[in-house]
């Protein structure tokens, strides 16, 4: 594996960017750090989501399910295992679950996948509630000495891992296979690519990342109950942010995460009942105005200026 000049430059820039972001807790530990945690969380979720949905064009709504499973891993294991082990364990369980969901649905057309993931969070929530009712357990307390800054650094580390994974996948045989699948699945199948296997492997990435994000954020909730951990709205927010930014580039989703987080923050503090309406409008904006996200818009503008320079 060799790095070209651009690669080295990108790696340096990314490292610098993460370094600057990591300094945030020293500047402010109140409102802005809270916002930073939200942005870091959605960056990890949306970027890993786009890793799968960008090339395959499948819309996954399973984020909330994996996220909830992750919070429960921390909730159940915090008394017995160290935190870092729980995050790793959540990642493994998330990847395993994603593989199961993928095995059931990704061999078939995309519609089945969307429908299956749409209800997945609700399904897991029902099952956990049922188990809790039958064992007499209610919620879980997660008490750690991890503070907001600690959570923020954990999430930032996860983001870095996601970017690195995405970059490595892009350079690998799997990434190449996925680009062909994205262009034309029939062609991909005819040229000897095991399309189902490639898709399932790739789907395990957002599964693992979402579960790890949930595991990291569990201490922030302190008290975990099913309706909180498996809030389906999370899946939709991730879809909107990733598509708003653009799922075709590794850095695309971040461009959507930041403005949308601010927008939701403003709306929910001023008009708390209108968040669903905002999410609805955001979907329509994506479909009708920004089909390729901000990245697509940028590409178009750049393309136009380049064309103008030539003529």
């Amino acid at each position: 594996m060799s790095l070209t000049g651009t690669d080295t430059r990108n790696v340096l820039l990314a490292t610098l960017g993460f370094g600057v972001c990591a300094l945030l807790p020293f500047a402010d530990t109140g409102y802005w750090l809270g916002l930073g945690v939200t942005i870091a969380m959605f960056t990890a979720l949306a970027t890993s989501w786009a890793l799968f949905s960008g090339p395959t064009h499948y819309i996954s709504l399973a984020t909330a399910a994996f996220f909830g499973v992750g919070t429960y891993v921390t909730g159940l294991g915090i008394e017995t295992l160290p935190f870092w082990a729980l995050v790793g364990l959540a990642g493994l369980i998330g990847a395993g679950l994603a593989a199961l969901v993928g095995l059931a649905t990704l061999r078939l057309s995309g519609v089945y996948f969307v429908i299956f993931t749409l209800g997945l969070a609700e399904l897991v929530r029902q099952v956990i509630t049922w188990v809790q009712n039958n064992t007499g357990q209610k919620g879980l307390y997660v008490l750690t000495d991890l503070d907001e800054a600690g959570i923020y650094w954990w999430l930032l580390g996860l983001c870095a891992a996601v970017f690195l994974t995405g970059w490595l996948i892009g350079r690998s045989r799997l990434g190449f296979a996925l680009r062909i699948i994205g262009d034309d699945e029939i062609v991909a199948a005819h040229s000897g690519i095991n399309t189902a296997r490639a898709k399932i492997l790739l789907f395990m990435v957002p599964g693992a990342v979402a579960a790890m994000t949930g595991a990291i954020l569990a201490p922030r909730y302190v008290y975990i109950e099913p309706s909180l951990a498996f809030a389906p709205i999370l899946s939709f927010q991730v879809v909107i942010m990733a598509l708003l930014g653009g799922a075709s580039r590794l850095w695309g989703p971040v461009v959507g995460v930041i403005p949308f987080t601010f927008l939701l923050e403003t709306v929910s503090s001023n008009f708390p009942n209108q968040t669903t309406l905002v999410i609805g409008v955001a979907f329509l904006v994506i479909v009708y105005l920004l089909p390729n996200g901000f990245v697509g818009l940028l590409d178009k503008v750049l393309h136009r200026t380049k064309a103008n320079e030539v003529t």
């Binding site: 819309i59 749409l118 669903t276």
Partner: protein, 288 residues
């Protein structure tokens, strides 16, 4: 026996809702994820009509149906047809329509939340016991079932006996070829979408007589309708009815023997079985 009949009664209304979705997906090729919100809106309408003017839900549906028809027709022509014309292939249309109808679904929930608030709503209509085969059931459930059977039957006859029905079935089977034999695919798709919306809204008005709804329950019904449509086979009326009855019975079995909180899990088990063993639907032919 008791469970079986309750399940069939529930399945009848499910069949009606799923028929609505099947018309929209099978003919107009729009995977309408805002279907559940149309249902809840129909329920709200019946609720308001009954509590304010004592209008019986059986009569309300004659008002609900034209309104829902008109609204859905507008939605199709204004918002979804542009997506159909710009789509380069089936996959892109599916993706676009899923995202657009998600948007509509959230807007629907948001509007209903701001108008009616987030409370559950229910009213007592015909809550008198009726005796069937030795057990008693709510008269409202039985009435809803009868209405659902009548409407499903009418739709079935219309699709299989009338000229417009034939054209609609042709579109469902082969949209590209339908155009070649002089079928107005564009207008009939709009018609089918609007009709599907009307059927769903009527289903909502009927279901509100015996189930408690709130502004955000729509998605659960959307999910159930989707599972039924896939299980029964896209565009297959007979399959839809069988699948709806099966789901109704299975849900009632799980709710009464295991736990009422696990009904969605029951639907998922069925869905998973279909995905693994018969992805082409109950009566579908195997695609090679």
């Amino acid at each position: 026996m008791d469970i079986l009949i309750t399940g069939i009664l529930l399945g009848g209304t499910y069949a009606l809702i799923a028929m609505g979705l099947n018309l929209q997906y099978g003919v107009a090729r729009i995977m309408n994820l805002a279907n559940g919100e149309v249902l809840v809106a129909g329920g709200y309408f019946a609720f308001i009509a009954y509590t304010s003017t004592q209008l019986s839900p059986v009569l309300t549906i004659f008002v609900v149906a034209p309104i829902a028809f008109g609204l859905n027709w507008l939605i199709y022509v204004l918002m979804l047809q542009p997506l159909v014309s710009r789509a380069k292939n089936r996959g892109q249309l599916e993706r676009d329509s899923i995202l657009a109808t998600f948007g509509l679904s959230f807007i629907g929930v948001g509007l209903m939340l701001s108008f009616f608030g987030g409370d559950y709503f229910s009213y007592s209509f015909l809550a008198v016991p009726v005796e069937l085969l030795g057990n008693t059931y709510g008269a409202n459930r039985v009435l809803s079932f009868v209405m659902a059977v009548v409407i499903c039957g009418a739709l079935y006859l219309w699709l299989n006996r009338s000229r417009a029905g034939l054209a609609i079935r042709a579109i469902a089977t082969a949209p590209a070829s339908a155009r070649l034999v002089g079928i107005d695919v564009k207008n009939l798709s709009a018609l089918a979408f609007a009709l599907g919306g009307a059927v769903t809204a009527v289903g909502g008005a009927l279901i509100s007589t015996y189930l408690t709804l709130d502004a955000s329950t729509g998605v659960v019904f959307t999910l159930k309708a989707l599972i039924i449509v896939i299980m029964g086979g896209v565009g297959d009326v007979r399959g839809t009815i069988v699948a709806a009855l099966l789901l109704g019975v299975l849900e009632t079995v799980v709710a009464s023997l295991l736990d009422p909180g696990l009904t969605l899990a029951a639907a998922y088990v069925m869905f998973l079985g279909i995905l693994l063993f018969r992805p082409q639907g109950l009566f579908g032919k195997k695609v090679t």
